[in-house]
């Protein structure tokens, strides 16, 4: 594990050093490309706070979306008519760009937390819904026949067969939507906010504070990576029987 992490760490460090040397030797102005040390100097409590706001919005939206999507997927699998009627609508909403919807969310929900959480929910919801529906149907006919011969009720079949069978599908969707959640929250902040990394990005770019802009971008990337790895860690713990073959 540590040995595997060494090459990317070494290359990353080399890249940062090269960047620093380039900026200093070529006298590149800070508003165009700040040096790594200049970027590091902008890391303060305020940045950490803005990070916290965006991260919290993303996490809350991600959790609400995941629970909601799983519940609706369950209904879709149980009641086929519901799936037939609502799935096309779900896909229509999914293909609408989140950037186009975000202003509407701010009008409806205000410039506070909820418009950002809603944007995160919208963007996380569909990957989880689609994959959960697929996963809940993935158990082989023969497994279902086995449960039938054992006299299992449909609830028992659902809990003891379909849900565990679906977990690999669910988790590959969660990994995708966990990083998308950060995108949703930041897009929401772009449109109208008084705090958060999206707000910081808009403000610092308007004032040409490029070093702050860089640290906000890096913080945003870090938020997405942190969520992705947290889900990946849970996945490896929970789904020990599958090597993540499902997509």
């Amino acid at each position: 594990m540590i040995v595997r992490a060494l090459p990317p760490l070494a290359f990353g460090l080399a890249l940062i050093v090269a960047w620093q040397v380039l900026v200093v030797l070529a006298h590149i102005p800070e508003y165009l490309l700040p040096s790594p040390t200049a970027i590091f100097a902008t890391v303060d409590r305020s940045l950490v706070m803005q990070f916290g706001v965006t991260f919290a919005e993303a996490v809350i939206g991600f959790i609400i979306a995941s629970v909601l999507a799983f519940a609706i997927a369950t209904l879709f699998v149980r009641f086929h008519t519901l799936e037939e009627g609502l799935f096309p609508i779900a896909i229509a909403v999914k293909t609408t760009p989140i950037v186009a919807i975000a202003p509407l969310l701010v009008i409806w929900l205000g410039t506070g937390w909820w418009s950002k959480i809603a944007a995160a929910i919208l963007i996380c919801f569909f990957p989880v819904l689609v994959n959960t529906v697929k996963g809940l149907k993935a158990a082989d006919v023969e497994y279902r026949e086995l449960f039938e011969t054992l006299g299992a009720s449909s609830g028992q079949e659902f809990r003891k067969l379909r849900v565990p069978y679906c977990l690999p599908y669910l988790f590959s969707a969660l990994k995708i939507s966990s990083s998308l959640a950060v995108v949703g929250a930041i897009v929401g902040e772009f449109v109208g906010a008084t705090q958060g990394l999206g707000y910081l990005i808009i403000i610092s770019s308007a004032h040409l504070e490029t070093a702050t802009l860089f640290s906000a971008i890096i913080a945003a990337a870090f938020a997405g990576i942190a969520m992705f790895y947290a889900i990946g860690f849970a996945e490896r713990r929970l789904i020990f029987w599958s090597s993540g073959g499902a997509e």
Binding site: E142, L146, E148, T149, L150, F240, W241
Partner: protein, 269 residues
């Protein structure tokens, strides 16, 4: 009370290691037909299975013999005829060609599945636990209770599936080419195990109905070999095989029966 008496008599029948079939049928199939759309899988098939018998259903792949077994298990609805089970309290278990173990459960957890489902909730008590361990012992996997399916070989997985099928303490075991996906050697060993378990008094199991497409396997194991015709499945011949088990195919009786069945099948191919 009845069940206990019958149980005792079934045990008594098995003295000497070779179960003797009692005359009363525990399963009678009359003029059974099964259709899938316009395709007839089974046509007017009649067959009766007596208690204590080991019966093989023999036929080419895709002839409808699995469909017959599934109809008996209630997995497939007949489109005509009847399947009667005079003794409603007799339990049956179905075993599939694939092990169908749940990969997130240990061997023991898989064996416990039928009891969990029977009990409704997850309330499996320590006697169930002991019972499941006993079943694993019976299939000689006592040391692998906490192993996960993917850590077991194909033959071991099928042993776990057998233990799971025995967990509900069935009278009748319905086997759909149970070891068909295994290699020849493993298959032979497991066939012998199956005979041993059928003969042993550790379980209630008295009657076995097994689908196979191997003539030697059917002849070596069964009291009766029921030869089925190709789709739609119908009865070609019902052949009694004598002799105590374990049998070797070199025995003159067996060899003659095998030759006879080969001729039957060839004439129809």
């Amino acid at each position: 009370m009845n069940a206990i008496v019958r149980d005792a008599s079934a045990r008594a029948e098995r003295l000497g290691g070779a179960p003797i079939a009692s005359p009363m049928p525990i399963l009678s199939i009359a003029e059974l037909s099964v259709r899938f759309g316009s395709i007839a899988a089974i046509e007017a098939l009649s067959l009766s299975i007596r208690r204590g018998e080991f019966v093989s259903l023999l036929g080419p792949s895709g002839c409808g013999k699995s469909t017959l077994l599934k109809a008996i298990a209630g997995l497939v609805q007949p489109s005509g005829g009847r399947i009667d089970r005079p003794y409603a309290d007799l339990r049956s278990s179905f075993m599939f060609q694939k092990p169908l173990l749940l990969p997130w459960r240990t061997a023991l957890g898989n064996v416990l599945l039928p009891v969990e489902i029977q009990r409704g909730g997850n309330a499996v008590d320590s006697s169930d636990q002991r019972n499941a361990e006993r079943m694993l012992d019976l299939v000689q996997l006592g040391d692998f209770a906490s192993a996960y399916p993917q850590q077991l070989s194909g033959g071991m997985q099928q042993r776990v599936a057998l233990a799971r099928a025995l967990m509900s303490d069935p009278d009748i075991l319905l086997l759909d080419e149970p070891f068909g996906a295994l290699d020849e050697l493993t298959r032979e060993v497991l066939n012998e195990e199956l005979i041993r378990i059928w003969q042993s008094r550790e379980t209630r199991l008295s009657t076995v109905l097994m689908v196979t497409h191997s003539i030697p396997e059917a002849v070596a194991m069964s009291d009766r070999v029921v030869v089925l015709s190709n789709r739609p499945a119908g009865l070609v011949e019902d052949i009694a095989v004598g002799g105590a088990r374990p049998r070797t195919l070199e025995e003159p009786g067996c060899a003659a029966v095998i030759r006879h069945i080969r001729e039957l099948v060839r004439r129809r191919a």
